[in-house]
């Protein structure tokens, strides 16, 4: 099994290098690059699925010349589970990329972009299977670097460069925390291997809280938890769509994987870890969806939604940790189960939505919601897939998003019903309230996004001549949509197969995990029954209606416009008007700026209204902090005065200072 996995890594590498060498001939570069990625994924998937289902962990150790390093890969259920979406989504994105990168045909950058894409896939696979600190860090930074070059692929635009800079700086600062964490652990335990680290946690020198905070900061930056998410809405929209699909759908999961791996290594956590993760999850969820609601750029909206879904995953993990620390097995298992399943679900529907947004961008050339509309008639397949994705991300029943949120709700309600314990109840209630609000807002946000982009009349010439994307772009989207529906209609088998992963992530023995799983299994089967009943109901009603209308007049006419003489498409509800009630109620958080130049004079020429919501956290916190440190650093510039005498004076003063320090030591 491990040989298969290594073969897949090799194929990815060769594919990328081949594409680079063939960058003169775009067609060949496409085939080599996408082929390498696809075949690599196809080779790797069986190994990942086999490991995720709890097969015997395959591992391989090769010695590596670097000090403290060893090429140590292993596929246990946790790694296998995270590898499944990584390989599946990357393969589909590669197929999508061949169609999407048409506009780069004549530029020399095509080969380079495929090399970076395949390296990104390779480093993600390595991150999720590495068992040695140095290998993990090398792959982690490789992932950051290759995605940086992909984000900056069309670097003519200034905002793309700015996004690239913000992205690499944020990921590097995150890596600095992970670097500190790994070296502290290696320093205390004497080796970089993960297996040596659990024993180290309880040495007196360093409080375990420091390790957890470093892990949370480091991996949280990559995952995009709320206070550390500032780079995400900057970087993801600027990348080519198939890359932002892989980044949003799968790459931020590497952060979640890192955090879960560390928690699994460290065993039973103190209570406050769970609570901190829960609060971070709630903050990310609610604020993520609020900011998503206020955006006008389709891909920026989806990026903010990644923050929200990462919040839901964090809520799941938080619940799991609280359950673990308070010994309530049901809450722990359902928390971890829901969180991890949402990792898979989010990877599927978020990449579907980003690919859809890419198709829209490819067809109309713009991402601004207020210039789109009526694309369902022009892009039926993309529209249908986007609708499925939108319903899934809002967590509506027949789709996969609902299944993972259902597990989290079950955790909360089951604990409320059963447990006398106050802390677990408080955590459960916070999760339920948070998820309820997030679910409602997400539904509103995606009603807006999908409604305004695909339904109604085209609001601008861009939208009028939108055309359906080529098959290479629509096929991956349809496959992703079908997989969302499949998980929604067959939740039972999917959740039961996750028992091995949950036991590996939470550290509980498999036996203890199976009992709550069975408990949830019953509900899930009934849920599947309800989902099938729903589908059957729709089909029946459709038959009833067509039977009723068979004999009668079915006519087409203009939309009822309450007698207004000449409605134009611009009069339709736009993105900012749809979100206006939300941005007004939550103006304390969003600080939406309204620019209104109303009609003036007796014969007004015309007015304009525009609302824009910046990234509040960045404007109020990160920018001021960065410029303040810049000013403080500036104060040091007086040292370099430029005159020789002053430099010699520095020499003498340093010597005197050292002498005084020396004599100060002994009188």
């Amino acid at each position: 099994m491990m040989a298969l996995f290594l073969a897949s890594l090799g194929v990815m590498l060769l594919g990328g290098l081949g594409a680079l060498l063939a960058s003169e001939r775009p067609k060949l570069a496409n085939i080599l690059g996408a082929g390498g990625a696809f075949i690599g994924a196809v080779l790797g998937l069986p190994a990942a699925v086999f490991a995720a289902l709890g097969g015997p962990p395959a591992s391989i150790q090769l010695d590596w010349a670097l000090p403290g390093a060893c090429f140590d890969l292993a596929l246990d259920p946790l790694s296998g589970f995270f590898l499944i979406p990584t390989l599946f989504v990357s393969a589909l994105a590669a197929v999508y990329g061949t169609g999407y990168l048409e506009s780069y045909r004549h530029s020399k950058r095509l080969g380079w972009m495929w090399l970076c894409f395949d390296l990104l896939m390779l480093s993600m696979a390595l991150v999720m299977s590495a068992r040695n600190g140095v290998l993990f860090l090398a792959a982690w930074e490789g992932m950051a670097l290759s995605s940086f070059f992909l984000v900056c692929s069309d670097h003519e635009a200034e905002n793309v460069r700015q996004a690239g800079w913000v992205y690499l700086v944020a990921s590097h600062l995150g890596t600095a925390c992970i670097l500190a964490l790994f070296t502290l652990l290696a320093g205390a335990s004497g080796s970089f291997d993960f297996s040596a680290w659990p024993s180290v946690l309880h040495i007196r020198a360093l409080p375990p809280a420091l390790f957890f905070l470093l892990a949370l900061l480091g991996f949280g930056t990559k995952a995009g938890f709320w206070p550390l998410h500032v780079w995400l809405p900057e970087a993801h929209p600027e990348a080519p769509s198939h890359v932002s699909a892989v980044m949003s759908g799968v790459m931020i999961k590497a952060g979640v994987y890192g955090l879960v791996r560390m928690l699994a290594l460290w065993g039973a956590p103190p209570a406050w870890w769970g609570w901190l993760l829960l609060c971070v999850g709630l903050a990310s969820g609610i604020l993520g969806v609020l900011f998503a609601l206020a955006q006008h750029d389709l891909k920026k909206l989806l990026a903010y939604h990644s923050v929200e879904n990462i919040g839901i995953i964090a809520i799941g993990l938080g619940l799991g940790l609280v359950g673990l620390s308070h010994g309530s097995m049901l809450l722990a298992v359902l928390g971890f189960g829901g969180g991890l399943l949402h990792v898979l679900n989010h990877a599927l529907f978020k990449s579907l939505l980003f690919l859809g947004a890419g198709a829209v961008l490819h067809a109309t050339g713009t991402r601004d919601l207020d210039e789109l509309g009526g694309l369902m008639k022009r892009m039926p397949w993309t529209g249908a897939a986007f609708m499925v994705g939108a319903a899934a991300i809002s967590g509506l029943p027949p789709f996969n998003g609902f299944v993972s949120e259902f597990l989290l709700y079950c955790g909360g309600f089951a604990d409320a019903a059963a447990g006398p314990g106050l802390p677990t109840l408080a955590a459960g209630m916070a999760a339920i309230g948070g998820l309820g609000l997030i679910g409602g807002l997400a539904a509103a946000c995606f009603a807006k996004a999908s409604g305004i982009v695909f339904l109604g009349e085209p609001r601008s010439p861009h939208a009028t001549h939108g055309h359906e994307a080529p098959w290479s772009m629509t096929l991956p989207m349809v496959v992703l949509a079908l997989s969302c529906i499949a998980i929604g209609l067959f939740p039972g088998p999917v959740v039961r197969s996750m028992a091995a992963v949950v036991s590996c992530a939470s550290g509980l023995p498999l036996g203890e995990v199976l009992i709550p799983m069975e408990h949830a299994g019953v509900s899930l089967n009934m849920l599947a029954a309800a989902a099938w009943a729903l589908v059957a109901g729709v089909v029946l009603l459709a038959g009833l209606r067509s039977w009723l209308l068979s004999g009668r007049l079915v006519d087409a006419g203009p939309t009822w416009d309450c007698g207004y003489a000449h409605p134009t498409p611009r009069m339709q509800y736009s993105a900012s008007s749809f979100a206006q009630p939300f941005t007004e109620l939550f103006s304390g958080v969003l600080f939406t700026r309204l620019r209104l130049d109303g009609p003036k004079g007796y014969f007004p020429a015309g007015g304009r209204l525009a609302t824009s919501t910046g990234e509040v956290l960045r404007d109020t916190f990160f920018d001021p902090v960065f410029s303040w440190t810049g000013r403080q650093l500036g104060r040091m510039r007086f040292i370099q005065v430029g005159r020789v005498q002053v430099y010699v004076l520095y020499l003498v003063l340093t010597l005197l200072a050292l002498l005084i320090w020396l004599t100060g030591g002994k009188p």
Partner: protein, 217 residues
């Protein structure tokens, strides 16, 4: 040799006097002459110290030292001053009066320091260590407080003399090769500095080093 102890103290006094003269003088060629005098004085030191090594070695050393510091440096510097019709006054940042006071302060400080250097101080050369330190400090002060390139070169020469005397006092018998190496280095350093100073004066037609501050942040 005559009672070396008294002679050594006399030489030390002469050394300190030249330091003060240097701080006080207003004209560059006067300074050059003072440095020449100091070079001669320092050149004599190995003769006085004697030490264990054979006479021929000490004699050779004094001859070379005096030759370079007493004769070669001054002639080179004065030729440099003649070639460059630069204003001859020394316009120091710090007034002459204050610099002399500082010179005296330096001597006091070096006396205090040498008393603290317990193990190094053999009874005989306590005086020499403090004189060496004082010359060192005066040399540094000259470099830091003078505006002209030539006065900085002079400061460097005084610094070298200070270090040399300090070395003789504390160690006594440094291997010959090292001794010669040091002398040769000092000579080459001054030689190159004067060439650089010549280039600067030709390029900028002024010798004020403190105006050379365009390279800054």
């Amino acid at each position: 040799m005559i009672e070396s102890h008294a002679l050594a103290d006399a030489v030390m006094a002469l050394l300190l006097i030249t330091n003060l003269l240097l701080l006080g003088f207003g004209y560059l060629n006067a300074c050059v002459r003072a440095v020449a005098l100091q070079g001669l004085v320092v050149g004599l030191l190995p003769l006085i110290m004697g030490g264990g090594s054979p006479l021929w070695r000490v004699a050779a050393l004094t001859a070379v030292g005096m030759g370079i510091k007493g004769v070669v440096f001054p002639r080179m510097l004065s030729k440099l001053l003649r070639d460059v019709e630069v204003r001859r006054e020394v316009e120091p940042f710090v007034g002459h009066g204050l610099s002399i006071a500082l010179g005296v302060g330096a001597m006091g400080f070096s006396l205090w320091v040498s008393s603290k250097l317990g193990p190094l101080v053999a009874a005989r050369n306590a005086w020499m260590i403090s004189a060496g330190l004082a010359t060192l400090l005066v040399g540094l002060f000259l470099i830091v407080s003078r505006r002209k390139a030539v006065s900085q070169v002079l400061g460097y020469i005084v610094l070298e003399n200070g270090v040399y005397t300090f070395g003789l006092a504390t160690v006594g018998h440094v291997p010959l090769l090292v001794e010669l190496g040091v002398l040769m280095d000092a000579f080459v350093a001054v030689f190159i500095m004067s060439i650089a100073a010549y280039h600067i004066s030709r390029e900028f037609n002024h010798m004020d080093v403190d105006l050379l501050d365009k390279l800054r942040d």
